[in-house]
């Protein structure tokens, strides 16, 4: 099982790659969301704070408002944010739950793909 420290490292790496990617910046103009990551196995929650397309914070708590929620075991979250697991495949297999709009789901999916392509 992945540890909290591994998840934090994966999220920091993801944020740095997203913020440094010109294509992602084009795609996320005006996109501001609090993305809650709920670790189904440990009960921990992290919030990825996105403001105008930039990840501006990763906080170890459920920061309101909850615009998007992703629920999965820590291993799955780490694999997804490292680009090793396909979010749609994990969703289809029932290992990941997504709460949010379809448009946000597609946008996040595309960001993960671009960063790790």
């Amino acid at each position: 099982m992945a540890t909290s420290a591994e998840l934090k490292t994966a999220l920091d790496d993801f944020a740095a790659r997203a913020n440094g990617n010109a294509a992602v910046r084009k795609m996320l103009k005006e996109w501001s969301r609090n993305i809650h990551l709920d670790c189904a196995d440990t009960g921990e929650t992290y919030t990825l704070v996105v403001e105008n397309g930039r990840v501006t914070g990763i906080v170890p708590e459920a920061k309101p408002p909850k615009d998007i929620a992703i629920m999965a075991p820590t291993d799955t979250l780490v694999g997804m944010f490292r680009g090793q697991l396909n979010p749609m495949a994990e969703f289809s297999a029932g290992r990941l739950k997504f709460v949010g709009s379809a448009k946000d789901e597609m946008r996040l999916d595309a960001v993960v793909d671009i960063i790790w392509k």
Binding site: A23, K26, K29, A102, K103, A110, D113
Partner: protein, 367 residues
Amino acid sequence: MARPRIVVLGGAGDMGYRAVKELVASKEAEVVVADFRIDRARKLAAELNPPPEVQFVDANSRQSLLQALEGATVAVNCIGPFYRYADKVLPAVIAAGVDYVDICDDDDATVKLLSFDGLARKRGVTAVIGMGWTPGISNLLARRGADRLDEVTDIDITWVGSTADSEGQAVIAHVIHAITRDVPIYREGEWVNAPAMSGVKEVDFPPPIGRVKAYYTGHPEPVTIPRFIDGVQNVTLRGYLLPDDIQSLSRGLVDLDLVSTEKKVNAMVGLLQPMLPLLSRMGTTAAPAISGLRVDVSGFKNGQPARYSFVTEDTMDRLTGIPPAVTALLLANGEFRQPGVVAPEGGLPVEAILARLAARDIEIEEV
């Protein structure tokens, strides 16, 4: 002095709401969200500060349109699909004596809208048609390129849209309309029809879009540009959908006769809309949630062949919703006036509009 009143028809739609947000943020006008989906309009309006006024409007009813336009300075028409509604809305706006801007993106509707030119002139109404992303920014860039040349011969426009970048029913209906019939292009000084999805050509975009194999689609640019840009001999309009594999699905819809009537189109739109997250994942990677536009203008300068190419990539709602808002403010403030029906390349202050778009972070790259 009273502030101008701008009524956004279809202001609760994906594109209309982006125009509303821009107008509210400008603080230069009193803004009205007029929409058939009144509950959605109220909900979206409440998210803005200050919240704009909300009104019900039914584009099928002239009386309803006239009621919504009472006291308006400018109407921004975002009610799509335009091949169904545009020629119902513009006559009502002209009758109300209100200046007008729309984002009409259907070639057949554009021909109908141009036929109201005489009526608009008579009433002193300025009606700017096709002022979104494509048409809209595409036409402005065509004009920019043409103005740099001594003689313009060819204008080639390519758009790229993504299933991950829009979820509106009108957009889906428009795309089906654009790729399922013979569509106009302008070739050697004459309008001719070509089958949609033919004329395949490789066109390059910056990342994340990259190279696409674009094809003819039904759009207004080949209809309007030869009317407003003197001497041009060829105007083509190609489009491409992301992800790549969606092209096969599109051809399949046509081949299986699933979109040959309006009833079938309506049913298909209802079926496809909830499937967009799945469709955006067709193939090996997720479609980038972005839209693109490339305009290539060729001709002669100082006796030598020359070409200017422009590209922009951004989200569809920004590319489509911001230009009509900027243009509505030009009309409302009296900065542009030209009674009649006019396309963006037909007299608007091109560089001033592009500068205002740049100030809103819509970047035009010259390639």
